[in-house]
């Protein structure tokens, strides 16, 4: 027995077990922890101690991560925000309604036939490494996209009918188009420096992270972090051509859950929390030194119908849409069955406003306001009336029938499992349909699966949403015949709509184009492939005792950051108390508060632990001595 025991190598693993030694060991361990803590407590505030020279750091908490700092690769909204800090675009966007404003291009003209665009590039722009930014850099960037490859995979469609881009002199860029393009001068493409990127081949671009010594022309320089790594640091770009920001650094921290982000705002670890759920926002209301808002964001959610899925080659119907949802009159009638305000209130906790068309009201220029006799409101009686008129009359069993008297059957309503709002909305919709005498059933699935189901045409209605860009072309295109089987998810096809789509795409008169865009929305409204029910709002909260002066976009009512352009980052300034104006007192963000307490407690714990350890050891000595005797 003993000889075997000797072969066990556990001597090191076994914690010492004698009663007395136990106390000593505990004391020592506690002492070690306390010591570590006090060291941290004492050293950390030194690093963060505030003095007049300390940089003003703006800490932002986010809920979504960056996927790539390479503007030719990333797709996440967060990545776009980062690129906007690092790089300029030819134009930028007005805070009011995101209309084009001079950016790198101080001026632009278009020829009478709309086929030649001439941009005048500012001549006072330097890259962050001191090199001069010229028209060549612009032409280089845009030609890389026209050349195909991974750059094109991301950006080509935005170039529209642009066929060539040429720098005719250091301050002039000339674009030749195959046909007029109403999207110009909006071109949301970050301009990159030729002297850096010309060394990166098309093959290398595919996996180029763009994280080391990044050279850009934007107001901030990217100095630390790696895509997906949750923390990103930006420093002000001293060479920036525009108005210098009033902060020195921005640090973004990505939180994987809402609660910790909100807590971090409360403790002052961050100064700004982006994308806070409405419920959490309520909880923050009234906290000292914190302001909250729900900012309008140009996005909507809709209940979409299968308006006729077909095989694109043969034109034969595919899938199995319920014949009722194929009828525009049926779909339009259901628009009156939805209580939008209730959905905003209950399913979205107030984070939004009732919506109607696919171009959100934030784009006041393009948004179509349905006239009263057309506009949906929550009016079940009107819905029932319209259904009766269209022949969907109530049968003997309390269910409505098809105009030919056959039963409608049960409508399949699909909701996205990753969105609670989506599921709740469809549950309400089912009840409302039930009130009207229409049977339906809600099925929940992941959006990946839903995409396949939509492409197979095996659905009647689903819930999803879109984000809408300042140029309406992208959103409008999703409803064209050509997008069926691709990005169209309602299988909508209307030649009149398509004709207008083509027309507005090359109409260079702004007002005439806006009229066409509104006419297209009216067509969609009447045909009702989508029942748009909410324009999203994003919850934002910030420490008004640290920073003020944010610029909403759209103004009024819009979001404070994650906008088009960087105006808000340029306008904001540090303060020492809420509601302070700019320039009042020298304000430096106080970073050391929590650490200070930490230090005190750390020292205290260490002292206690040390006493405990000594006592433990003494006790141990004495008791083992007793035992030995």
């Amino acid at each position: 027995m003993q000889s075997r025991a000797r072969t066990y190598p556990f001597e090191v693993v076994i914690p010492v077990v004698s009663d007395r030694v136990k106390r000593a060991a505990g004391g020592v361990a506690a002492g070690a922890v306390g010591l570590t803590m006090s060291v941290i407590g004492v050293t950390a505030p030194q690093a963060a101690a505030s003095s007049a020279d300390d940089p003003v750091v703006f800490h932002v908490g986010l809920r979504n991560d960056v996927d790539s700092f390479n503007p030719f690769l990333g797709i996440e909204a967060t990545s776009f925000e980062m690129w906007a800090l690092m790089y300029d675009q030819l134009i930028t966007y007005s805070p009011k309604d995101m209309s084009p404003q001079p950016g790198l291009a101080s001026d632009w003209t278009t020829s009478d036939d709309g086929l030649t665009w001439t941009f005048t590039i500012r001549d006072d722009v330097k890259w962050s490494d001191g090199e001069k930014l010229t028209a060549d850099d612009v032409a280089f960037t845009l030609n890389r996209i026209l050349d195909g490859g991974p750059e094109a995979a991301t950006w080509l469609a935005y170039m529209g009918s642009v066929e060539s881009v040429e720098a005719t002199d250091p301050t002039t860029v000339v674009m030749k188009l195959s046909q007029p393009n109403s999207s110009l001068p909006l071109l949301p493409i970050p301009i990159v420096p030729e002297h850096i990127w010309s060394d990166i081949s098309e093959e290398e671009v595919k996996s180029y992270a763009n994280e080391d010594e990044v050279v850009g022309s934007g107001p901030f320089r990217y100095v630390e972090g790696t895509a997906g790594g949750s923390t990103y640091r930006f420093e002000v770009n001293p060479n920036y051509w525009g108005e210098q920001p009033k902060i020195d650094e921005i640090v973004y921290t990505v939180y994987q859950a809402d609660d910790p982000m909100v807590q971090a705002l409360k403790t002052g670890e961050i100064d700004f929390a982006e994308d806070v759920p409405a419920l959490q926002l309520d909880a923050l209301n009234g906290e000292d030194g914190i302001k909250t808002q729900l900012g309008t964001s140009p996005a909507f959610e809709e209940i979409a119908f299968n308006t006729g899925s077909v095989d694109l080659d043969t034109g034969e119907p595919i899938g199995d849409p319920n014949p009722a949802v194929l009828d525009p009159a049926f779909r339009y009638a259901l628009g009156f069955a939805i209580d939008r305000d209730l959905l905003v209130e209950r399913a979205y906790q107030g984070a939004g406003e009732a919506g109607d068309t696919i171009i959100p009201s934030a784009y006041s220029n393009y948004h179509y306001d349905p006239p009263d006799d057309l506009a949906w409101s929550y009016d079940p009686e009107r819905a029932a009336e319209l259904l009766d008129e269209a022949g969907y009359t109530m049968g003997d069993d309390g269910l409505r029938t098809m105009p030919d008297g056959s039963p409608i059957g049960s409508l399949r309503l699909l909701a996205r499992s990753e969105s609670e709002e989506s599921v709740n909305t469809m549950d309400y919709f089912q009840e409302w349909l039930d009130d009207l005498g229409i049977d339906s059933e809600v099925t929940t699935m992941e959006s990946g699966k839903l995409t396949n189901v939509i492409l197979d045409g095996e659905f009647d209605a689903f819930e999803w949403g879109w984000y809408v860009e300042p140029d309406p072309t992208t959103m409008l295109s999703y409803m064209t015949c050509g997008q069926r089987g691709s990005w169209s998810d309602s299988w909508y096809c209307n030649p009149e709509y398509d004709r207008l789509y083509q027309q507005q795409g090359s109409e260079t008169d702004e007002q005439a184009r806006a009229d066409m865009v509104k006419r297209m929305q009216e067509i969609l409204y009447r045909d009702a492939p989508y029942l748009v029910y909410i324009y999203d709002k994003i919850g934002e909260a910030y420490r008004c005792d640290r920073f003020e002066g944010f610029q909403q976009q759209p103004d009024p009512g819009g979001v404070l950051i994650f906008q088009y352009g960087v105006q808000s980052y340029l306008d904001m300034y540090p303060v020492t108390e809420c509601g302070q104006g700019q320039g009042s007192d020298q304000a430096a963000a106080d970073d050391g508060g929590g650490l200070g307490t930490g230090a005190v407690v750390g020292v205290g714990v260490a002292a206690l632990a040390a006493i405990g350890a000594v006592a433990g050891i003494l006790l141990h000595r004495r008791s083992t001595a007793d035992e030995r005797e």
């Binding site: 076994i14 991301t154 992270a209 790594g229 939180y255 670890e269 860009e469 691709s486």
Partner: protein
């Protein structure tokens, strides 16, 4: 995690009944374990590829949604991602790449998967590794104390509290700790940061940076340690109780050895075997990270990397991480098997 333990014990028992072979038995034992591990690895390699392709989503479409992107661009993206190839061709490419040590490019991040894994490995190792070690040490200790004081207050307290902690959702425990120690509640001041791995204004490679990281990791490590504790303490407690009834302890006492000595040198050593197995097996699970805790404390570890990759789905990342996890578990099993054979001669004979 107790299932593998019992299998191992069962295995040990069956092997024990086999006829004894004095020469070469040891090598045969090692060889069979190596071969088994290799087989498991090959299976994982093949299985990995098909497992994630069952997810009903098209990565190219997910990546291109909500931007102005023509169908040609989606097709181009599909080509870039290599998804236009027939499945068997993709499979062959995958095998070829994997065997030449290439895990491919992430669909989402567009950087080599191996870089991603290495980047995310350290936070995970620091977090889960530290917690596992702490939990096993403290757990073993608690288990011993409980066993010796069986039925007394100490036993009830230790067993009760570790079971309570075990049955609490980790994320909830984490949130409570944040609310108390990172925000401050009542008389307790804010002691720790809410989340993250390190502050941005210190160099993580410096001494201060190391302390800063330790400071950030304190709460998540405490959370995980508390959650893992019961696993070790309960097994240690029960196996020690089993040993304490054995005759050899009575013999040892009869020989005049002190109680403390008998417990420490005799009972504990034998009782440690199952706990030891559990600890070694858990080493393999460390790399998988702790998704919930990484989420609550926003620590960019391997667990998060994997869950995020599911959304796309980012096949190369999923294949890479799962291969990595499998290798770790298989290695840990192998090590446990070999060490077990070495520690307990009954197993290898």
């Amino acid at each position: 995690m107790s299932a593998p333990t019992s299998t191992l014990v069962a295995e040990a028992e069956t092997q024990q009944t086999q006829p004894e072979k004095r020469r070469g038995g040891q090598w045969r034992y090692v060889g069979s374990k190596l071969l088994g591990s290799f087989g498991a690895l090959m299976f994982v390699l093949v299985f990995n590829f098909f497992l994630f392709r069952v997810i009903p989503a098209d990565p190219a479409r997910t990546l291109a949604r909500n931007r102005l992107v023509s169908q040609e661009q989606v097709d181009e993206l599909t080509r870039t991602l290599g998804l236009d190839q027939p499945l068997h061709q993709q499979f062959l490419t995958y095998l070829q790449n994997t065997f030449s040590g290439e895990l491919g490019l992430s669909f989402k991040y567009r950087v080599p998967v191996s870089d991603l894994i290495i980047d995310r490995f350290w936070p995970t190792l620091l977090l889960v590794g530290t917690s596992t070690i702490l939990a096993s040490l403290i757990g073993i200790y608690l288990g011993m104390v409980s066993a010796w004081n069986r039925g007394k207050v100490v036993d009830h307290m230790s067993t009760g509290s570790s079971l309570t902690l075990y049955s609490m959702p980790e994320w909830w425990l984490g949130l409570v700790l944040i609310a108390v120690f990172a925000v401050g509640a009542g008389p307790i001041p804010k002691l720790f940061p809410v989340s993250g791995l390190h502050s941005t204004d210190v160099d993580p490679n410096s001494f201060v940076g190391g302390l800063d990281t330790a400071w950030h990791l304190t709460l998540p490590v405490i959370t995980l340690t508390l959650a893992y504790l019961a696993e070790y303490s309960l097994i240690m407690r029960s196996s020690l109780l089993d040993e304490m009834g054995e005759d050899y302890l009575t013999t040892a006492r009869a020989k005049g050895l002190r109680d403390v000595y008998v417990r420490r040198r005799h009972a504990t050593r034998n009782a440690l075997l199952p706990t030891f197995t559990l600890a070694v097996l858990n080493l393999g699970f460390i790399v998988q990270g702790a998704i919930t805790i990484e989420t609550v404390f926003s620590i960019p570890g391997l667990g998060l990397l994997t869950t995020e990759a599911l959304e796309v789905p980012d096949y190369p990342v999923l294949q890479g991480t799962f291969l990595f996890f499998s290798v770790a578990v298989i290695l840990a099993n192998l090590v446990a098997n070999l060490l077990y054979g070495w520690l307990d001669p009954r197993v290898r004979s």
